[in-house]
Amino acid sequence: MIAPFWVSERTDGGFFEKGVESKDIMQNIRILTAGDSSLLIEFGNEISPEINRRIAAIVKLLREQHIEGVVDVIPAFCSLLVNYDPRVIRYEKMKKRMESMLRVDIKVGEGKRKIFEIPVLYGGEYGPDLGNIAEHAGMSEEEVVKIHSSQDYLIYMLGFLPGFCYLGGLDERIHTPRLANPRLKIRAGSVGIGGSQTGIYPLDSPGGWQLMGMTPVKTYDPEREVPILVEAGNYIRFVPVDEAEYRRIQAQVEDGSYQCVIHEEV
């Protein structure tokens, strides 16, 4: 069996487990040391939307409660690394604070889902591999686009590149192996499929994903007040647009007037 991608530092080519039934999440939580300035909260060892929602809720709580000394957090699939300054708060106290925070009964899953619309111009020169994907799936390009844009993808975590989202939930029918020869440069905004994953390239980067389209929206812009729009726990919805719409949005993005469409749904 090919190892899933999270076993190595490869960022694509793996698969997501589908909706693992999670038991009592609290039962599996452990707090581990990660040096003198970080601790790792482990929420079991599986990838599931429930665990992910739990982690997103804790991150939100951490931001709201603003524990003094917490410098940065890194939410991942099923863990949360909390970096803190031992000058301000020591290990034992930090651990206790986290424990009590974890005991708080968070209404997991009752909050609204925040969905970001990402307009995509599929195919043609914008998505040179859409034909490959269709051929591999044994369907038309239109069907691939329809499948790809007909569901919301949970952002499990961000990593690898600034703003790069690990999205869950790509329809099995359009899973496509990566290119045999990776491209040396993939343009920022490219939308593609790599194995069981789909995603957006936040900046120019080499890569082996099958490119199916392009978004004019900058998911990452260091010049913007909020450089990265999304966070773990949010959802992404791909919306097909034609070239005229693409150009119109692109112009808005350029002059800074574009506002990303965000839905709040239960």
Binding site: E9, T33, D36, R90, L158
Partner: protein, 334 residues
Amino acid sequence: MGIRILKAGMMTTVQDLGRTGYQSQGFSVAGVMDVRSFKIANLLLDNPENEAVLEFALIGPTLEFTAGTLIAITGGDFQPTINGEPAPMYTAIDIHKGDVLKFGSARTGSRGYIAFSSYLKVPVVMGSRCTNMKSSIGGFKGRKLQDGDYIGFRIKRRYLPFFLSRTLELDEFNQDHVTLRVVLGPQDERFSKQGIETFLNSEYTVTSDFDRMGCRLEGPFIARKEASDMISDGIAFGSIQVPSHGKPIILLSDRQTTGGYPKIATVASVDIPWLVQRKTDHKVRFKAISVEDAQKLYLKELEELNQMRKKIHQPCKEVLECRQVSRRIRRLFP
């Protein structure tokens, strides 16, 4: 008013303590590798603790100053000279317009730092002036310095009291062997008992695969328990990951935010400077300590830095004596 980079050296970048707060969005922290040398350099000039400096590695840069200022050089010994004359390290140095500061290759240590009392004029991007080369942001145009670059100063030359007192003892990086204290975890239990023993009782060699992202070590194989899949999690500064080849890799300033290899331990913050100042073929060993002890060491170092700050804020003894003598002489000739 600033510095012109006549020769950029191997890897010279603008750095501070890093861009924190964005790791949840995939942003590497970057920032200085040797936090101690960085802090001492700024401290010598009464700079804010997180003021941006130049960090360089292996072969240092050559700079020309287009305005007078004060600087401090710390870290490894890159044999600095000013206009051809040896320049002191761990000392506040008076710089005049037109002076040329030149570094050679590292005699001891492998990373050097220059702090400027006129502050480097580079924009603050997402709360930091540090260079993140992978994302091409921060520092000077998001990249390492090149020959001919020019970086301005933010303020004019400023007065520093007790100028003659501003000298501290040098940190020596000439040891061939260092022992790095580590806190075991977070995934130490994925390693066999024997694997942990190997890790703690063997000597590892620094390979040439050593940059701002991490340091790859060569040495005895560290055995894991039966293979079990690990799901990527967040990485701390100084995390020691052990991929299936069984050799440790210590993750440093430009590390990715997350990774999928088990991490056997994390280097104590106070010992990371002694690691990053190693060179290829140097030896390191690991010693496990508790997280409480690692934090005590961290606080002790902060206290040591405080003492340094006090020391350079006292009148220089020689000057005092000199004044007393002159006062007595003056009394002799009313």
